[in-house]
């Protein structure tokens, strides 16, 4: 036994940074691609792309798609698809607008109510899929038609509903308040910098703790130099993003919501039995069922989560436009699916991460933002985004086959 451990430790030692990168190449590749795209647009726009104002806008525009992409990742991981989320988001946004404007509900009642509606809608859409094995493609497409009809129905009398609630509108347009620190760092959003600093400290502490625990188990850990390099890289990244954001209005409420969503779903998928079960169902549903996992229960849970995220998306979008429109949500599902696939999700099931899909969403949104700044016509923009999607998936396919 002792002998075995020594041997396996040696095997670990010989594992260089290159090996680690090779095994996760598709995920790292998209990250690198993202940076390349950002640098490219920064150069072609004379630095406008990377300006605080643009990055801040980019994140706010991305928010309502990115939360959908998080849910879509899980849907695709369990080998399904969800085509109704765009219209569901649109409908729930309109519902919020009506409740706020016509019924006079307080915002603190509206938001939970809409979230519950989202969950119910997800469960409803999932029922034919989980109970009878109806293909999700059909079930969710039908649900999409129904939600679209519902959206048109509720906005029929009024057309666009303007929302006047300042708190609600802040979700998509507002920023966290700043703290007055006198003349210290003028023009910078101080609270954003402080939060960035706290983020850096927390990530360092958690990295140290995880390393200590691993050592207490006598497990092999990366060499100290590599460990420090990782910490510097992560700290630098958080620091740089905070610095950029602090140069405009600081952290937006959209970003707060997105970060919370990512944190919660990242935690669930990587740290909890539920997450494992989701990936097991995606990897081999029959084996999962025989391992005591209820495939239909997992299906309900994932679709319910998707419904919940659709409600957040709808709220964020309605808030951003300060109104509910008859076409809200149009094509959101396509953007979310594209983000997930660019981020490395596999349609064969069982493969795909939350962080990957967020990177995918960032790539797609950077393309839109950058090309807008370059005044490239929308026709070309569609073609470029389509090409990038295909390239990403083809690359993913090839790297997986080589493994």
């Amino acid at each position: 036994m002792e002998d075995l451990k020594v041997k396996s430790n040696q095997a670990h030692l010989s594992k260089s940074l290159l090996d680690i990168m090779k095994t996760n190449i598709s995920e790292y590749f998209m990250f690198i691609a993202l940076i390349v795209i950002m640098i490219f647009f920064t150069i072609t726009t004379d630095g406008v792309f990377i300006s605080s104002r643009n990055i801040s806008n980019l994140i706010n525009q991305m928010g309502y798609i990115a939360v959908l992409a998080v849910g879509m990742t899980l849907i695709i991981v369990i080998r399904h698809i969800e085509l109704s989320v765009g219209y569901l988001a649109g409908f729930l946004g309109a519902f919020s607008a009506i409740a706020l404007t016509f019924w006079g509900w307080p915002i603190y009642a509206v938001i939970p109510a809409v979230m519950i509606l989202g969950i119910l809608a997800g469960l409803l859409t999932a029922t034919p899929v989980a109970k009878l094995g109806v293909p999700a493609f059909v079930s969710t497409m039908a649900a999409g038609l129904i939600f679209r009809g519902a959206l048109l129905l509720v906005t029929m009398g009024t057309g666009t509903i303007v929302i006047r609630d300042p708190v609600f509108n802040a979700i998509g347009n507002g920023y966290i308040p700043d703290i007055p620190l006198g003349g210290f760092l003028p023009g910078k959003h101080k609270l954003t910098l402080i939060i960035g600093l706290i983020g850096i400290i927390l990530s360092i502490l958690s990295a140290i703790k995880s390393r200590r625990t691993k050592l207490s188990y006598n497990f092999q850990v990366p060499s100290f130099g590599l460990f420090i390099a990782q910490l510097v890289l992560i700290s630098g990244l958080i620091g740089y993003i905070s610095w950029i954001l602090s140069g405009y209005n600081g952290i937006s409420w959209s970003l707060v919501i997105l970060l919370l969503v990512v944190a919660v779903f990242q935690f669930i998928t990587t740290k909890t039995p539920l997450g494992r079960h989701i990936y097991a169902v995606g990897g081999n549903p029959e084996a999962a069922e025989l391992s005591g996992i209820s495939v239909s229960k997992i299906t309900y849970i994932v679709f319910a989560a998707m419904g919940l995220l659709s409600s957040l998306s709808g709220i964020m979008y309605a808030s951003r436009l300060r109104s509910a429109t008859t076409t809200a949500g149009l094509g959101f599902e396509t953007d979310a699916i594209a983000a997930a696939f660019v981020g490395g999700v596999s349609a064969a099931g069982g493969v795909g991460t939350i962080t990957g899909s967020i990177i995918g969403a960032l790539v797609m949104m950077s393309l839109t933002s950058g090309m807008n700044l370059m005044n490239i016509d929308i026709s070309i923009q569609y073609i470029v985004r389509g090409a990038v999607l295909v390239l990403a998936v083809v690359f993913d396919r090839i790297t997986r086959r080589n493994q």
């Binding site: 451990k5 391992s291 005591g292 996992i293």
Partner: protein, 507 residues
């Protein structure tokens, strides 16, 4: 002596790690019914795949002669051109198309652009008459019973100029009347000059219909017998089919200490909606602590279905009868319930429904018992690594690291991962379905040793196996299944390969 219509000489076919056919010689006279018999895995189907071109020329060694002419088949089309048609056990018909459309599928009667339905239908009627099937050619296949579907399949083969018709277990899924009809048809075809090669496990029907019988065992030809001249009977055939020596590849168990009853089935029956028939009929078995119970039987006899029906019934059969675990009646609604009652099921099909191939060793091992390593809702990944490494060393799983994807391991090591996963559940009753299929001798021995040590610790094992030496070498008690029924029960001391085989082929 006239030239045989078919001669296969010194055929050897290897798959990675296995010699499926080893210097097989097979010769068929014109106009006879030639039966091919042997245990599961003896090489019958592989031999027929070589003959029909599924395994193309060049992937095997040896020569095939049809009426004295050397043949090099590169695919089914080639063998069809030479007048060979094969009908597989799993029917290759399209359920949503009509009888006549299926008969002409791939060879549509047309004027070059448009299918001539009237001509097709009238030809179909003639062909259907030949096989004695009286149905409207416009009927959809899905509306016919299995017996009639089989006849359509034969009609489809007869539409072409067939000299040699191969039927791979054609009666396996048929009831008695349909089987009799089919045998009658084969006799009729023989009179019309069609040579038939029939693969079957049902020795009674083999005896009834065959002119000549060739027995394969472990990829080799054992013998070819002329039914009349050699005065063949069932016991003789069985002797030829089994006859494998039980070397001491089975580790001896130190303490056999059989305790109280832990599992009992009473009048356990199951009906499959998917197949539309009963798959288990009044099964009564019992299993005791510290005991290895072998379940023998041929493929399709209902062994795996028995295991699944007990283990929470994931395929949703309609069940009747009772299951008792430790004397208490249980009604499992899902595998989850069965696992909670300390059962484990190591599946026959590791890749299909046993493991998550795209995931790594440690995640596979922990999957069925994550709660054990979860505190406060969070999986302790460090504990998980310890557990995975524990089973890796206890079961001697050969893998560079436990982060290795299971798909990259060999069959034997995959099987050990599967075992490790279920041992981690800490079960009292473990069902092992074909525990050593497709794995090498060394790994087999290791798995047998593990099984012995488990029952010595008081666990009960139900071992489903097609390999008779394994059943005899490992079990304390043996049940033999056939057609969904328990055909016999015996302590291992009273069992022999011949005895088991006789029960397994008795329908």
């Amino acid at each position: 002596m006239e030239t045989p219509i078919l001669e296969m000489k010194s055929i050897t076919k290897e798959f990675p790690g296995v010699k499926a056919l080893d210097n097989v010689t097979f010769s068929v006279r014109k106009g006879e019914v030639h039966c091919l018999v042997g245990e599961n895995g003896a090489g019958k189907s592989t031999l027929m795949k070589v003959l029909s071109g599924v395994h193309a020329f060049g992937t095997y060694t040896g020569d095939i002669f049809v009426e004295g002419e050397l043949q090099k088949f590169n695919g089914i089309r080639d063998s069809e051109r030479a007048g060979i048609a094969i009908i597989y056990q799993e029917l290759a018909l399209i359920p949503e198309l009509s009888v006549y459309e299926n008969i002409f599928l791939g060879n549509e009667v047309s004027n070059g652009i448009v299918i001539d339905s009237n001509e097709s239908i009238s030809q179909a009627i003639d062909i259907l008459k030949k096989v004695g099937l009286d149905v409207n050619p416009l009927t959809k296949i899905k509306n016919l019973g299995v017996g009639k579907q089989q006849l359509v399949e034969i009609a489809k083969a007869l539409k072409k100029e067939v000299r040699i018709l191969i039927l791979d277990e054609p009666t396996a899924a048929l009831n008695e009347t349909d089987s009799d009809n089919l045998l009658q048809l084969i006799r009729g075809l023989k009179e019309q000059g069609v040579t038939c090669i029939l693969i079957s496990h049902k020795l009674r029907e083999v005896m009834e219909i065959a002119d000549t019988i060739t027995v394969l065992r472990d990829g080799k030809t054992v013998t070819t017998l002329d039914v009349e001249a050699d005065k063949v009977n069932e016991p003789v055939l069985i002797k030829h089919m089994v006859g494998r020596s039980i070397d001491n590849i089975f580790p001896k168990r130190e303490n056999v200490n059989i305790g109280e009853e832990v599992l009992r089935l009473e009048d356990w029956s199951a009906f499959s909606y998917a197949l539309g028939r009963d798959i288990l009929k009044n099964v009564n078995i019992s299993v005791h602590a510290g005991e290895i119970v072998g379940i023998a039987g041929l493929m399709g006899s209902g062994r795996t279905e028995l295991a699944k029906s007990i283990f929470g019934n994931p395929d949703h059969y309609r069940l009747s009868g009772k299951v008792f675990i430790h004397g208490k009646e249980q009604k499992f609604r899902s595998p989850h319930d069965a696992i909670k009652s300390s059962m484990a099921y190591v599946t026959e099909d590791r890749k299909g429904n046993g493991l998550i191939l795209i995931d790594d060793v440690k995640h596979n091992i922990s999957l069925a018992n994550l709660k054990e390593i979860t505190t406060g809702g969070v999986i302790n990944e460090n504990e998980e690594i310890l557990i995975a490494n524990k089973y890796r060393s206890e079961l001697n799983i050969k893998t560079p690291t436990i982060q290795q994807k299971v798909r990259n391991l060999s069959g034997g090591n995959q099987q050990k991962v599967s075992l490790g996963k279920w041992l981690f559940v800490k079960p009292g009753i473990m069902i092992l379905d074909e525990p050593t299929r497709g794995i090498d001798v060394g790994a087999k021995y290791e798995i047998y040793t593990i099984m012995n040590s488990l029952v010595e610790q008081g666990m009960s094992i139900i071992m489903i196996s097609s390999e008779l030496p394994e059943v005899l070498g490992m079990s304390d008690r043996i049940y033999v299944m056939s057609a969904g029924k328990i055909n016999g029960e015996m302590p291992v001391e009273d069992a022999s390969q011949e005895g088991i085989m006789a029960l397994a082929v008795d329908y």
